[in-house]
Symmetry: C2
Subunit: 410 residues, 2 copies
């Protein structure tokens, strides 16, 4: 008997009516002969309401107590979903994180799953029940409730699918799948039927909001097949699976863009060993994650060092950069918040030469200047002016996706 | 170091502002040199909101899943209260029922506490923390969440006070204590400074809403001293303690009234053995709790049997009575929903003769007819027309409380 894990996000269980719809979807899976484990988020808006209450009391709420409060959101949703299933004749039981139990480390508000005990779930499944598990939460070695951080319900679902050796982990969301580009920008964007874990991780880290990168990492590690699909429209979505040769036939799987970074440049740095190390150590020591780094070749013993950080860290990063700049005798620090990172992602790059060149040419043709470039085996990112972001995505989509030559073999 | 258990009801933690006030009250107790364990209800209205959600999905929600949903109300409140305490410099930790753990039987929605493991609470107290426990909830042997039923937070507080051997269990509420009669009816009603467990149980079962009868029973069993006081006004309330000789000097401690019963009479029952047994067995088998029972002396081989039940059970009880009436050849069944039960309660009755006579005389003087009488060692109740209820309470209060002769010894 196949075992499927189905995860429903906050929008999918946002109202009593929607919870009833989810119950119908689960019932269908049961009637098709599956054992079903459901993972649910809190009803949309509930987590924010609960966080709001904690913030009314404390500007920096104690993380243990915050988790105590916030974790109730999922607990309400799973109880209601179990009731909705029983109401339509499907036996169901809801389980919180500590009831499963899903063991995590002690990092309240951003805990990581360490181990899942599957005994209770398996025995409830044996009794013919649908098991509904609270997403986003677990329990640590002190017996305290932890939460996995925003988007953690995806991780719960994938981790459960791995622990239960489920045949598939279905992620229900408010879009119909993963697209070749943001459909709000590119009219011709297409749903991607199959994508590899690696490509999906790049897409996720580059701004595609469909799944949390951590949950895709987890799926890759344990080989969990994911099917991302719509809660509201009944059609096939996007499968996220291990890469295979077939996938390499396409050079570029998708185009993504990311607007949430700032670029900071330390200008006219004396070109001596150890200065870059000093700067990035200072940033790292202050928990600032640096994304792209560019250092130009030296002119007359001086060079410029640019890097990008998340906008929320930009003020702090600029401050640190100014301190280091003064210390090492650089002439100053510049900052640009109006930048965009545009990326092309695809497994096929490994075997298709010339993707980078083609990307730069497309941008050049549109008159778009490139501030920085970074590459991985399956991705090329360019930093450009924010105002050209949409133009760049459309042009790259046309060049790489709409007009791409694929070798079709049957 | 004295140990105090403080319980706050839903009104006391009804808003973020009120939660902050509760935190100040707790802080004061800490600064006065007490170890403090706090029991909190859900924020006012929250339990009803959660129950409402379950009812939107199911007209008769599965009790296990209902408890899963409803128990989140207290969980939110304890987390917020812990945050409020930390915010004013008092270290605190919140614990749900399963974290304590408070073990109950498996009767979802109306569970009874079986055992409390005090290890975690004691070790948190040792570390100098205020421990905040979720009222109204526990965990059963399956590891499932149970709730104790309405008013169950009082029981949690008393049971914790017993298990921890606390010096006092303070019940904070929206009234300033237990009164000699309902102050909304009797202008001269006075706060009772000290009352015995037995008297309090009678008052509770007779409609005084200050404390749940079950929690007073529990306190009596384990000798837990209770202090009922106001969350909003800082003054001594009512102490509920073991009876002592001093208490017996007063014949009547208080007057209570209860409007929630219906009277059902089976008319002209053949006066043969076993008929009353048949009637009350049928009611008992259907889980209907009968309060007062009156059977008059037989006339010409026939008698009338009257009994009272809670109004919510009256339809069902009447139906059962009609079946039995037909079966045994009685002439019919009558029902009266507009009745009131008026009671005088006091330990001193044991030693003061004539209380019953005086009560009947007061009612007679006011022209109030008595339908039924029931007595215990420390209580006399009369069933009368609902329309005379307030008049009766006022007249009895005047006769027994305002004009009572007490022997004052110093």
């Amino acid at each position: 008997m196949p075992l499927v894990v189905q995860k429903f996000g906050g929008t999918s269980v946002g109202t009593v009516e929607r919870i009833k719809n989810v119950a119908k979807k689960v019932k269908k899976a049961v009637e098709e002969g599956n054992k079903v484990v459901v993972v649910s988020s809190a009803m949309a808006g509930e987590t924010d309401r609960l966080l709001g209450l904690t913030r009314e009391i404390s500007s920096r709420p104690d993380p243990r107590e915050q988790d105590m409060v916030v974790s109730t959101g999922e607990q309400v949703a799973i109880g209601l979903l179990a009731l909705a299933l029983k109401e339509i004749g499907i036996d169901a039981v809801s389980l919180t994180g500590w009831q499963v139990p899903i063991y995590t480390d002690t990092a309240y508000t951003k805990a990581r799953i360490k181990r899942i005990d599957t005994h209770r779930i398996m025995s409830e499944l044996e009794r013919g029940k649908v098991v509904i598990v609270a997403g986003f939460q677990g329990v640590n070695d002190y017996g305290d409730i932890t939460t996995l951080g925003r988007g953690g319900s995806d991780t719960t679902a994938v981790a459960l699918a791995a622990a239960l050796k489920a045949d598939v982990c279905e992620i229900y969301t408010d879009v119909t799948g993963v697209f070749t580009a943001d459909p709000r920008i590119v009219e011709n964007a297409r749903k991607i039927p199959v994508i590899s874990y690696e490509e999906m991780m790049e897409m996720a880290s580059l701004g595609s909001k469909v799944m949390q990168i951590r949950s895709v990492e987890f799926a890759a590690k344990y080989g969990v097949k994911i099917h991302v699909k719509s809660s509201f429209i009944d059609e096939d979505g996007t499968w996220i699976v291990e890469e295979n040769e077939e996938m390499e036939r396409v050079a570029v799987r998708g185009i993504s863009h990311e607007l949430k970074e700032s670029k900071i440049t330390v200008v006219k740095v004396p070109d001596k060993p150890g200065i870059a190390a000093k700067l990035f150590k200072a940033l790292g020591d202050n928990n600032i994650v640096v994304d792209m780094i560019v250092q130009n070749v030296s002119h007359e013993g001086y060079t410029d060092i640019s890097f990008t950080v998340n906008k929320v860290d930009a003020d702090f990063a600029e401050e640190i950069a100014r301190e280091v700049a003064q210390e090492v005798g650089a002439s100053g620090v510049e900052r640009n918040d109006r930048i965009a990172k545009i990326s092309v992602v695809g497994l096929g790059m490994k075997t298709h030469a010339g993707t980078a060149g083609k990307m730069f040419e497309v941008l050049y043709r549109e008159g778009i200047n490139i501030y920085a470039i970074s590459t991985s085996e399956i991705k090329i990112s360019c930093l450009i002016d924010e105002k050209y972001a949409e133009l760049a995505v459309r042009a790259l989509h046309e060049a790489f996706i709409e007009n791409q030559e694929t070798i079709v073999v049957d």
